[in-house]
């Protein structure tokens, strides 16, 4: 059973059927595909790009690297669908363009719409899901339920203020002073959208804005104006590093008391409007009562590297909720799992994993001669979109015990921790200094050794130098 018809549910279901799991039912409480993109982002513009034209053909594996919004299909007609809906006013799609791309992909996935999952129980064969359309029984559940339930931080009085999800259209904030609790995506998205309307905007949260990280973040599109206005002492935008002690409602609006975190002292701020842009939680319903352990202040289900609940085997997660599975997170680097470009690959890997471990459907694995292993892995390091987008999370493995065989794309953390025969795995990772670096993991006689290959200013990881270094490790 797959629950959800957003990009995570669609990709998982599509890939499960392609992997041979034909007994797969997809339920959705929505009336149409698209998940959160049927509604959000509030101000209707994504931050992840799709380049309609690229140095390679749309529909190829290489093109996926230029298109961070389409789901990944096995046939050209199912590939690169978002570009066809873009009017090219921006290099990032509008919400409705993204939704149209997902709807086109959903034509290849059978979904039972308007069938809402209500509760969950275990039985001797697996799980029983109570839905608005009766009970469904299954061996394995994949919950692709998004991170869409508004979550308000436990700040006294904040519960009286509307959440990001209840934000009104920008013109309704005309001439008002607005206090936004939060300094992440949704907070800056609102601030940006309100700049032409509000008289004053204050954003506040305890953690300082990390300018070094921000400069390289796709969020820079959203961050730039309000934050730059604040930094330059511009008019009417303030970005505060402060822990908010309480929010009080009064006749004129709100009064907010906050304590500095990068400065000494306290401050009182008056505002006409307060918006809690404090994030979302996964709508997990009764899963915690079933024993599903949560993480991130109770907002997300904790998962293994293969996105299985750490505490209830047989329950898996897909879509942006997969971001709670951190992987090795070397040097603190996070993967792109929280967005479509990353989790589309995770969902495909998950589908193959479920097909193999729960349904005995082994994939056909390409065999290599010894001479082919190094060129194949170099090609992956140079061009594999899975490795480039899911840096440090997904790895390409070649088994080298006896016959050389493709081990597929797998979560690096699982590969590193698994006892197995001889193998070579390659990844693209961020080094401690932030350099994009190819890394090789060689397992020989049960022992794993990690080797970083040279970096390259143009990210050419299939040079003679790389070939020689990899050949020395593989031989």
């Amino acid at each position: 059973m797959v629950v959800g018809s957003g990009p995570g549910g669609l990709q998982t279901a599509y890939s499960l059927v392609r992997a041979g799991v034909t007994s797969c039912a997809v339920l959705s409480r929505d009336s149409a595909p698209g998940g959160m993109f049927r509604r959000w982002p509030v101000y209707q513009r994504l931050i992840s790009w799709t380049k309609p034209d690229a140095p390679c053909e749309p529909g190829t594996r290489e093109y996926e690297w230029y298109d961070h919004n389409s789901l990944v299909g096995d046939e050209p007609a199912h590939q690169a669908l978002v570009r066809g809906f873009m009017d090219r006013a921006y290099d990032v799609p509008a919400r409705h363009e993204m939704e149209a791309g997902l709807a086109a992909f959903a034509e290849h996935v059978e979904v039972r719409y308007e069938c809402e999952w209500l509760s969950t129980s275990r039985d001797e064969h697996g799980f029983a899901l109570e839905t608005s359309d009766g009970e469904y029984r299954c061996k394995v559940c994949v919950f692709a339920i998004g991170v869409t339930e508004p979550w308000t931080a436990p700040i006294p009085g904040l519960e009286a203020a509307p959440h990001y999800a209840a934000t009104r259209t920008p013109e309704q904030y005309e001439g008002k002073s607005v206090f936004i609790v939060g300094k992440r995506n949704s907070a800056f998205e609102l601030a940006q959208g309100l700049l032409p309307w509000a008289s004053r905007i204050v954003l506040a949260s305890p953690r300082p804005v990390q300018t070094a990280v921000l400069a390289f973040s796709p969020l820079s599109i959203r961050y730039l104006s309000p934050y730059m206005q604040h930094v330059r002492g511009g008019s009417g935008s303030f970005v505060l590093d402060a822990a908010i002690d309480r929010v009080e409602r009064n006749a004129d609006g709100y009064r907010i008391r906050a304590s500095g975190t990068t400065w000494e002292g306290e401050v009182d701020v008056e505002a006409d409007e307060v918006i809690a842009a404090t994030g979302f939680r996964a709508p997990v319903r009764d899963l915690p009562q079933l024993g599903v352990a949560m993480v991130g202040d109770g907002r997300l289900p904790a998962q293994t590297p293969y996105w299985e609940s750490v505490s209830v085997p047989g329950i898996y997660f897909a879509g942006n909720v997969m971001g709670a599975s951190a992987g090795l997170r070397k040097h603190g680097a996070t993967s792109s799992t929280g967005s479509v470009n990353g989790f589309r690959y995770n969902a495909r890997v998950l589908a193959h994993h479920i097909a193999e471990t729960h349904f005995g459907l082994a994939r056909e694995r390409r065999q290599f001669s010894r001479d082919e292993v190094v060129p194949f892995l170099l090609g992956e390091l140079a061009r594999a979109p899975e490795l480039w987008i899911q840096k440090g999370y997904l790895a390409r493995v070649v088994e080298t015990q006896g016959v050389c065989r493709d081990g597929g794309i797998v979560p690096l953390a699982d590969h590193v921790d698994r006892d197995g025969g001889d193998s070579v795995a390659v990844t693209i990772e961020y080094a401690a200094d932030g350099a994009v670096t190819p890394v090789v993991y060689v397992r020989r006689a049960g022992r794993l050794a990690e080797h970083a290959l040279p970096t390259d200013p143009l990210h050419r990881f299939d040079t003679t130098e790389h070939r020689q270094a990899l050949a020395a490790l593989v031989s």
């Binding site: 436990p154 949260s205 305890p206 953690r207 300082p208 402060a242 822990a243 304590s259 500095g260 975190t261 915690p288 024993g291 352990a293 949560m294 993480v295 991130g296 202040d297 109770g298 904790a302 293994t304 750490v310 505490s311 951190a326 090795l328 997170r329 070397k330 040097h331 603190g332 590193v416 921790d417 990772e429 401690a432 794993l448 050794a449 990690e450």
Partner: protein, 141 residues
């Protein structure tokens, strides 16, 4: 283990390591560094693999394993991973979750700036390291 009843900031405030942090700084800690939950049997730190962080146990237990042999057991409030970060070397042990294990994680590159900004945490950490050293010497003797 069920979902924790208290929130993340409250959990952090009860640990000896962070006992001297005022509330706003606890909020910064909670907003800056994520918690992660591991399945029983899952590895948290891997012998000879780079890039690990500094871990503080919020709930659950872990084993310290060297070359397959269990050397120590860690509990709520204990921390690990700092030796390889402070000495800039690869971990010399695996740390494996013995139960479902909940940890706060500070990445390797952020430990030093964090400790320099929060000397009270550094002092508490030093005290605990001193006790560990004394215990290790007592065993050796």
């Amino acid at each position: 283990m069920t979902a924790p009843a208290e929130n993340y900031v409250d959990t952090l405030s009860r640990l000896a390591l962070f006992a001297d942090l005022p509330h706003p700084q606890l909020e910064v800690l909670a907003h800056s560094f994520d918690e992660e939950v591991f399945a029983a049997g899952q590895r948290v730190i891997r012998q000879d693999v780079t890039g690990g962080g500094f871990y503080v146990i919020l709930d659950g237990e872990a084993h310290v394993v060297i070359d397959g042999n269990e050397r120590a057991r860690l509990h709520r409030g204990d921390f690990f991973g700092e030796i390889s970060l402070l000495t800039d070397s690869r971990p010399t042990a695996d740390v494996i979750a013995a139960t479902v294990l909940r940890c706060l994680i500070i990445p390797d590159t952020e430990l030093k700036p964090f400790l320099l900004k929060q000397p009270s945490v550094m002092y508490r950490m030093l005290q605990i390291e001193a006790r560990r050293l004394r215990a290790a010497n007592a065993w050796d003797g």
